[in-house]
Symmetry: D2
């Protein structure tokens, strides 16, 4: 099974564990001749790196990329591109409790133990850790260059909600300076209240969830494949692969379930010689295909499962109940760090679907 | 590309168009020796068939299955199982407007025209019609037998909301008699109000959306694959392939984004010698794996795009604006008919993931 | 598993059994707008049909195609194209011996029984019958149109050897009128001796094997994908899926194993402003990629396993030895009927690889 | 596209280039709990390493494996297993001629240039070098442990022919000590004549081809999947992915094309309470399934394309003819070094097919 791979024409294969030697990704299907901007990849990785704010985990990872294959003279060659990031700040001793059989509530320790007959790597959740999204972001940064250069598509996500604090909806231009804000919510006042929400949860040894909204510039119509590879199907598959995601909706989403068709239907009109819709309740996707509008995607994150408050739980090796107090370093809220991860999955999916639809030439010619 | 296929170990390949000769499905990977209950398939198909209520489309389709391959002496053989359903009540003349270039708001006519260079079958949306879910339901009914017989898992979805009417949440046993209710909401009072909601929309030449909640009996822990084939990833991919779906969430879903970890985490405990959780905010899935609890999935449907009210739109062949009045036969609300479709996707995905995880033996032996 | 599917960008899914209701194929990934020439498909099917010569099986099948989906106004739509052929002359009673557990030497009855726990369809080999190549030929005829129209590639195979009779090697033009010869060997004298070889085997209640050589016109350089999807890898995978094939070689093949590099290397030169090679020992493929030369592929077929001579064998249900005399209708030599099947696999593989390499535009535009 | 991946249930993704930083492999689908014997992997790699004999290339590579992920406490975890080998002895300056546009006869320089628009890595063939088979052998060594431990299958290949020297056919036991012989032909006299054949070619600045025969112990019946994933289809796909392979045959192979059915059919009989065949002309595979006999596979290699004799060729950048004298370090015969590569592909394919067929449990339980 290719459970660790995502994409068809463009394909990333993720590997690595939280407290193993390294995490990384193999990317196949990039057209030859694309400039690989290592500095940009590093910037994207820094955006998801712990320690960017006083409210994130204090695990110390420099996340320096090591490009093992697929690039020659700074451009893609058509061969698989492999990038590895060493794990530096591994503290497996924090996880003796899991190894002893104590299930952390909200974590996959127990079902993974059952699935893998006890052979899974238990340190920090092993393969189930959000640390593996390092590879998603590497693939995302490169894909973003591809769709921006070849199709002119840009992607920007921002934090729409943390706990009880909800920001107003933004358009693409307003979302662009999201990384200037600690909580990745480019509304000064909302960002500050979100900070307080996280700070207060942290003080209580608790955590808090949130919602990310991802926007794009208008995408040319007809991107997407039929039926099971509809653009929304593929985006959702990718987004639910991000740890802690519990909900995904497009455009008006669940809200449209309460509406009538006459309100929800986006009326087509001609604007500047192009077919556009007056509203964008569809979130830019109809019948699994783009319609020429921006994408609007909302992704719901549960609160971090790792909290410092003592919790009742069970020991799955000894089949007994008990109380667990977590050690280790945890984010009271993962949502701000997840913004570049969401952007990465969206960029990668758009790139894959564009290649599948024949919208990106397989080879960017040297002589162009 | 295998855009028309879903599943890996168990795989369905969908084919057919709304007003072509037939719709159908090829199912690969069913273990040999499974009894194929044609009557059950027919019952499931009848549940999604138009004309089941005075509030659904009056297109007349008997939806009689024709089993072309893969069955011998009423059991699966290990060979691909092919089922075809003829389209009987085709009225392509209703769709002359689309063929002439008039885009129906909310439909894929325009992006499909762009994607396929004008060669797509425009009749009733062609490949983009919900008629193709006939194949999903055939595959779903068979998969349901497989997971029920081999793993004891049962699946039941019900209508949780239509327009402004929301039913209270039900448990699995309460949901079981859903098909005794016209709106598939097994709460007499809510069902009646939903009927009024649809009736009122119909009278206005309009349509209305809704939400389906899908429940299962407890699923044994450890079902699901890592990362990109997490159970929620695969379920979401399948569910977003159902026409009109715009939102999917698991367990507490978007609501959990407003909560703290101490509230959201499901506490593990030992009940009747089994590890269970006290609450089920996760909807039965953590880290992409089942945890031994029932699945809880909510699926948001937009209101039917086809409404009888005249709508402004554009002609994409002539690049001009105009007003379109739809002919054809349309459901004012597709949600009740979508209940067996949601159950089918969930049953099929569980069966695929169970085979992938080695939880169902590939061959059901004759001599057992 | 998608064991019944072949190709990635272009994909055929095969279904059906020898003595079931029907055999057929679903073809995904054909660019929209390709003319589907049903008459041509029928001609290709007729070339593999039994009863074309007095030396082939006298099973009577008219092999009339029924196009179920994917075509509108005689052109592909981008939707999966499904074609079904009914089985007419089914005589399952011929196969009571297999059902009783008697293994036909050279056939898959015994391993299939083990693999499928006794649930496989035993009639005429069921899924393991060469009857399923009807679907290969349908897909092949359509693919041939695609590569011929878009890339100018033509394909012709001929019978190079039957039993002890070996024809001299032919070039593409000489091979073209192969279907005017009963044995598909366009050398009158060799064809006649081959006929005698088959006739003599038939008279003895025996069968005989042979070799097919498949040629193409020059294929533009760079078709093929790296490593595991090298053109030779994909061609070999497809060719070994044809029943009775036991050997595949390209260009000089096994013979080159006895040569030195200085003899085997094809020297590059410039001919008519194009890079060409002086010899074609590579068979047109180097490093898995085409080099601008014709393809040369040889495919070895074992003699038909079904012979009328009584054979010793075992009963796998009762674990006893015995003697089996086959009933049913069998070709004393399948090689002539396999010519269009080999051409089909080669055409289909070239089409798939051309789409994967971006050499065929996904959409053939209406307005070109 | 997953062109760089092989296998379905067990899957290897190959990466790296001849003169880049590293070559390696990601292996997915290994059951959890399998002991990973790093010493064994190293032994297998040493068998393919250059410099093992005075007749192989003098490129110096220590080929030390670096296990990046997927192993915990020396056992597989169910997560992807990643292994990297650094390239040490890179001499890209040898390849200035290719970079300048001179096509080496027999190499992919020219078609790769066309395919990748000039962006491919030209150093030593880049991605098209046999150096990438390092990853095949790593995956092979691990797969070999899996099939040996779980199914008792062992694999041994030996050199059957080099140039004009052909050894007699061996049985499995005779083949076992192949690595005690310089040419991997465990017949002292034939091995010595093969050495002379290579030595003589080397002295002439030339190269020579050969044939490898791969044998296994008897494989339990029913391994293999239907139609396009027949065991021979999958083996051939993998084997043709090894650089320089031009021919593959099973059992009697091409020879059977000259035989009658009565000679070729392997008669079933009962031996020691098991169903066996008297002869093994099928090479252990009928209808794509194993029949309980040993596999017999022959693989034809062309002579090394890199020879020191000056060769006429063309410059594909400047479209002119000229003469090329190769620098670099080349094997006069790759066949002996290819023996572990063939064994690796066969072991890996058997492991993949066994998992797909449900013959290996997905999890090897800790408590067994």
């Amino acid at each position: 099974m290719s459970d660790n791979s995502f994409g068809q024409a463009l394909r990333m294969t993720s590997f690595g564990e939280s407290h193993g030697k390294a995490v990384g990704v193999v990317i196949e299907g990039l057209p030859a001749g694309l400039v690989v901007d290592q500095e940009k990849i590093q910037i994207w990785l820094d955006r998801r790196r712990p320690g960017q704010s006083k409210l994130s985990s204090n695990r110390k990872e420099s996340d320096i990329i090591n490009l093992l294959s697929g690039v020659y003279k700074d451009r893609t060659t058509g061969a698989p591109l492999t990038v590895v990031v060493q794990n530096e700040d591994v503290m497996p001793e924090f996880y003796n409790d899991i190894e002893a059989g104590w299930a952390r509530p909200g974590h996959a320790d127990y079902p993974a133990y059952v699935k893998y007959g006890g052979y899974n790597d238990p340190r920090g959740g092993g393969r189930f850790s959000a640390r593996i999204t390092v590879g998603f972001v590497i693939a995302g940064a490169i894909s973003h260059s591809l769709i921006k250069e070849s199709l002119g598509i840009d992607v920007a996500a921002y934090v729409k909600r943390i706990g009880a604090v909800e920001a107003r909806g933004l358009n693409f231009e307003e979302a662009l300076n999201r990384y200037d804000y600690s909580m990745r919510c480019p509304q000064a006042e909302a960002n500050e209240r979100m900070e307080q929400e996280v700070s207060s949860a942290k003080k209580d040894g608790d955590s808090v969830g949130g919602i990310i909204e991802c926007l794009t510039t208008p995408v040319q119509p007809g991107l997407g494949q039929p039926v099971f590879s509809s653009l929304d199907s593929e985006l959702a598959k990718g987004l639910f692969s991000i740890p802690a995601v519990k909900a995904v909706e497009f455009g008006a989403g669940f809200q449209a379930s309460g509406w009538r068709g006459s309100r929800n239907n986006d009326i087509y009109e001609i604007r500047k010689d192009a077919i556009r819709t007056r509203t964008n309740n569809s979130g830019g996707i109809i019948g699994g295909l783009t319609i020429g509008e921006p994408l609007v995607i909302r992704v719901g994150f549960k609160p971090t499962s790792s909290i410092y408050l003592p919790q009742q739980t069970v020991n799955f090796k000894e089949m007994k109940e008990g109380t667990l107090s977590l050690k280790g370093r945890h984010d009271p809220c993962v949502v701000p760090r997840a913004v570049p991860i969401v952007e990465s999955i969206v960029s990668f999916t758009l790139a894959d679907m564009a290649i599948r639809g024949g919208m990106i030439r397989q080879v960017l010619r040297k002589d162009r």
